[in-house]
Amino acid sequence: MLMTGPGPMPRGPLVLGIETSCDETGIGIVRGRSRPGERHVLLSNTIASSMDEHARYGGVVPEVAARAHLEALQPAIERAVAEAGVTLAEVDAVAVTSGPGLAGALMVGVGAAKALAVSLDKPLYAVNHLVGHIAADILDADAPPLEYPTVALLVSGGHTSLLLVRDLTSDVELLGETVDDAAGEAFDKVARILGLPYPGGPEIDRAAVDGDPTAIRFPRGLSRASDRAAHRYDFSFSGLKTAVARWIEQREAAGEPVPVADVAASFREAVVDVLVGKALDACAQHGVPRLLLGGGVIANRRLRDVALARAEAAGVTVRIPPLSLCTDNGAMIAALAAELIGEGRAPSTLEFGADSTLPVTQIQVAARDAVAVGTA
């Protein structure tokens, strides 16, 4: 026990979070707040990625990801506790992603988390991955506390979702999501069409450096006036991918060179335009002057720049957690559980499973009544 001055410092619960919904094995360790108003403290954000193994397939292969999680979990947990300077015996609660995500990948984390909780005889919190992305924001020690309500745009290789967050632990509403490919997937597929390696996001960025984003007007999915009734906040990127492929084919058929930089820049602009446009439309319609960005695709510089510029013009404040917390990670899962514990929520029962399509309204899974969480 750390001693300062005359007695032990009050300490919040030590939470270990496990995230295995896609191709990152994330272990996070967070010291939850010890009293209302205090901040949670990030002690470790350890990530083992199987991305390299997926590169030759051009996208995440579920079975490859699941095998990699099984091999990565134990070393990742060991690294995380070492980095946090704690022991597993000190952990007060275990948290795990129950969904949404790849079923086989999620199950590895769920199986491990349950066994770890039983072996440590500590409570288990099963939480929602997407809400976890929002919770990443509360670990940013340099940012003022998250204000509600806020619109959240979560963009990654696995999901593209627009959420209205009235409260992190009790009220998250899905405004819209992709009806086909995730934005990150679209980057991967278009990179492939352009003969660029996986993952596509950084490659498209590199290729787009000297490109003209207005050179080609690629379609903005679900953005027509006729889409507003049913799909105002939904996204579609598969038509865009097809449009890029067709544009290149026509160019080649005509024996003309393909301007890769212009194609990359114009494609990226179409994605960014629709993401930012719909997010700010949601802010306007709901009268919410706050937008939170999350997910791995937020690493895309052009997306951040356009979001910041257009949000400022619209009078909307943008929050972007540190990029290491935007990609999938276990720290955000631990943070969400720490927040639930701080709100006095009971842990989950041991009966839940992996839910690949867990709705965002289900912030915690299999919550049990009574039973309080002890703190160290």
Binding site: L88, M107, A115, V118, V260
Partner: protein, 230 residues
């Protein structure tokens, strides 16, 4: 005290004493839903045996063969439980546990443990008698076989007459086919107990403890990336 976990077919957890005495068995025959039941099975086995997690000294993990997804959940759970207590994992091939149960039931002739490997295939391991430690002696497999072929005609099941045979010396015998629908976690724990009693120690080599998937990830490398030149 040994905690044994297997989710290669159904889900089973057992608590076994170092001398092989079985203290508790908890099971779910559902061949799906491994992730749902694993935590409760662990808790129930411990409670039924009247032991606390701190009493567990080793975790025996059923390493397959089995369907990918289910198999992994038990191994992940076994490793995480062991990590939580700072104790070693003893990796045990599931078919060895099934074979031990079969031998204990009185089998004398060579036999083949056959389990469903999904996708119209079975996983097959052939055993003949016991080794010096009393554990089933594996003579062939595990290998995959289509589930609609006659295993009796398969060369894999042809066992040469050896020390364990008393009859057809010099010839070959065909192993009896023993279909198994659940790896008994109690037998898994007893295999581990026997391994430990005969001096088994963890080497720290992960390769030695890899799951027996028997199949490569079901994926093909897509078309070569289209070449586009500016």
């Amino acid at each position: 005290m040994i905690l044994a976990v297997d989710t290669s077919l159904g889900s089973t957890v057992a608590i076994v004493e170092p001398d092989g005495a079985v203290r508790a068995v908890a099971r779910s025959e559902n061949t799906l839903g491994h992730a749902e039941v694993i935590g409760t099975l662990l808790q129930r086995a411990l409670a039924d045996a009247g032991v606390s997690p701190a009493d567990v000294t080793h975790v025996a993990a059923g390493m397959g063969p089995g369907a990918f997804t289910g198999l992994r959940i038990g191994i992940a759970a076994a490793r995480a439980f062991a990590l939580g207590r700072g104790i070693p994992v003893v990796p045990v091939p599931g078919h060895v546990a099934a074979a031990l149960a079969h031998l204990d039931a009185g089998a004398t002739a060579p036999f083949a443990v056959v389990t469903d490997a999904r996708r119209r295939e079975n996983a097959v391991t052939v055993f003949d008698g016991r080794d010096a430690n009393g554990l089933p002696r594996r003579v062939a497999g595990p290998e995959l076989r289509a589930n609609d072929v006659d295993l009796a005609a398969d060369p894999l099941l042809s066992v040469a007459a050896g020390p364990a045979s008393d009859g057809a010396r010099g010839g070959a015998r065909t192993a009896e086919v023993v279909p198994v629908t659940e790896i008994p976690a109690d037998a898994l724990g007893r295999v581990a107990a026997s391994m430990l009693a005969s001096g088994w120690a963890p080497t720290g080599e992960l390769a030695e403890t890899e799951p027996l998937y028997l199949r490569s990830p079901d994926v093909t490398v897509g078309h070569a990336p289209k070449k586009v030149r500016a």
